[in-house]
Amino acid sequence: MTTKNLTTWRALNTALKDILQETPESLVMGEDITTWGTGGGIYGVTRKLFDEFGAERVRDTPISEEVLISTAVGAAMRGSRPILEIMYSDFTLLGFDGIINQAAKSRYMFGGQFDCPLVIRTNGGSGVGKAGQHSQSLETLFAHIPGLEVAVPATPADAYGLLRTAERSSNPTIFLEHKNLYYDKGAVDFEPVPFGRARVAREGTDLTVVATQQMLTRSLAAAERLQAEHGINAEVIDPRTLYPFDMETVLGSVRKTRHLMVAHEAVRDYGWGAEVSSSVVEQAWEELDAPPVRLGSARTPIPYSEPLESAVVPGVDEILTAMRKVRTAIAA
């Protein structure tokens, strides 16, 4: 297929179409996924799938997150390959038993007898004023759980490619889209993107920045200013999946730049940046010239009002300051 310029939601929509076409075992289910907007879900990702694939394989569901999740697990254990849309990642909390006690452990507890090829598509993140119960970045909770894979696509191409890979996986995957990136545009080459392989979004020599989704975008913007204003050349890495995590690419970069910063939208405290930072410290202690710095959201729920929401999530300025801090830590 040739490369096309698509929005993220459209790239995801195309991925779902391709999956439904190629994989007879797949099905798509979720709340309001066929009757909302122009016949897709809340952000359009399931648009017109119903028209093409019908009511058996594209299913609107009641508002019953708990049973939707455990139903998807059961179906996956019996040879179906469900792709479940949970409207906002905050609502997955209603089905955490299904995700953590069932899906994540169904292979292990029974000694490897069962596959669990389940994808839960959902979205996290802030930026559009959806407030405390529709804006969380919960990826760390999932990354901590053995048995789960966690994808955090940032670009349309990765959204397409990672979703294809998630669907082929025999493990349960939490597929975390970002609600403020659905309308971003980018080139999509319609190739699967392997899990556990980071993307170097910007090459650089002086500082390694690991960032995802909205923080990736902001880190790239900050990196330009860092270079222009301070002559420091940052390498920006998008891990794309948190589990598996491509530590090798990060370590390779750190060996070159000797400095590390991690930026995520999840709350900083006990967030996944700590894992990246402390793993790098453990594995590349001698190669670091300064302590790694982590950036994440403040220890607050996400507030509604614009000035408050902006205040708790790191912006470009804050990222820039942190970048400079990493580079000057020793000097300071």
Partner: protein, 326 residues
């Protein structure tokens, strides 16, 4: 038990309903103007439920609301200006802009919040009822939830818990026939929703949610049952929302004819004719009431628009009570 009195509840309810209608009619406009971020769910058409139930409550009582909760708050007595200010994310909002439309709480009115999680208020109200029971007060609590929320398992758990503990709680299901874009007809197999209450041992009734008198009477009965220690009640109120689920709703899931059929049963128009007929109000009274409603909402909107945005420094306040305990 309190009887529905057209001069008292009828008149007072009409004023409230007119005000709510005027308030909610501003939502699409304010959304369009981008003064509202995120999602806001107006309840025009459904005023009789919140109003009828609220008229049956006393100051000691509490309510837990849902995403479509402005009416629940206003009918309970929340200040329209502060309510609107919260919806616009301003400093004078009840939450100082932290919550927005889906998180309006008013402690002194026992409003445990509108809620962004469909079904979540059910447990909160059950808990408020437990607190009332423990405290030996005669307070009751109410939860408003939709037909969509009725499919959340927590409802079954709460009905059962409230029934065995005889908790003073009213489960008020606003069946407006749609959950976002999902028609209830496709989302449930047993259309008689009150069976869900009966199955768990909770006295359950259907009520015409377009009638203020009927919702008030059903609620008053439930409140009396709760106050007397006889436990919970489930009320299924048949109603309809006129506007889209939220701003930007294309409404491809329903047709205009259906909307108009329901508008023909408008709860406000119906109450007005009743009160006119009964001589409780005159046509000019009704005009005054409408004007007053507009005025109140206009003032509320001005108040909200003029309220400053919160200070960024406020963003990290109120996470823990005065720091965590040491």
């Amino acid at each position: 038990m309190q009887e529905f009195d057209q001069r008292r509840q009828g008149l007072s309810g009409l004023k409230t309903m007119a005000m709510i209608r005027a308030f909610e009619s501003r939502m699409p406009v304010l959304s369009e103007e981008r003064l509202i971020r995120g999602s806001t769910h107006p309840s025009a058409g459904m005023e009789a439920v919140a109003t009828g139930v609220s008229l049956a409550l006393g100051p000691q009582d509490s309510i837990a609301s849902n995403h479509r909760g402005h009416a629940h708050c206003l009918a309970r007595g929340s200040d329209p200006g502060r309510t609107m200010a919260e919806i616009l994310g301003r400093r004078d909002g009840y939450g100082g802009g932290k919550g927005g439309s889906m998180h309006i709480g008013v402690a002194e009115l026992g409003i445990l919040g509108t809620n962004g999680i469909v079904g979540a208020g059910i447990g909160l109200a059950t808990g408020a009822a437990l607190a009332a029971q423990m405290q030996g007060s005669d307070a009751v609590s109410v939860v408003y939830f939709g037909d969509g929320a009725a499919n959340q398992g927590v409802l079954a758990e709460a009905l059962n818990l409230a029934a065995i503990w005889k908790l003073p709680v009213l489960f008020v299901c606003e069946n407006n026939h749609y959950a976002q874009s999902a028609s209830i007809e496709e989302m449930i197999a047993q259309p008689d929703l009150k069976q869900r209450g009966l199955a768990y041992g909770v006295p359950s009734v259907d009520v015409d949610g377009m009638s203020l008198g009927d919702t008030f009477t059903a609620a008053a009965e439930g409140v009396e049952r709760a106050r007397s220690g006889s436990g919970p009640t489930l009320i299924i109120a048949d109603t309809y929302r006129y506007l889209g689920h939220m701003a930007g709703d294309t409404e491809i899931y329903r047709n205009q004819v259906e909307v108009e059929q329901w508008q023909a049963k408008d709860p406000i128009a119906r109450l007005v004719s009743q009160l006119l007929e009964a001589g409780v109000i005159t046509t000019s009274d009704w005009e005054d009431i409408q004007e007053e409603a507009s005025r109140v909402v206009q003032e509320a909107e001005e108040f909200a628009r003029n309220s400053p945005f919160p200070d960024a420094s406020d963003a990290t306040q109120d996470v823990y009570s005065k720091g965590v305990p040491a």
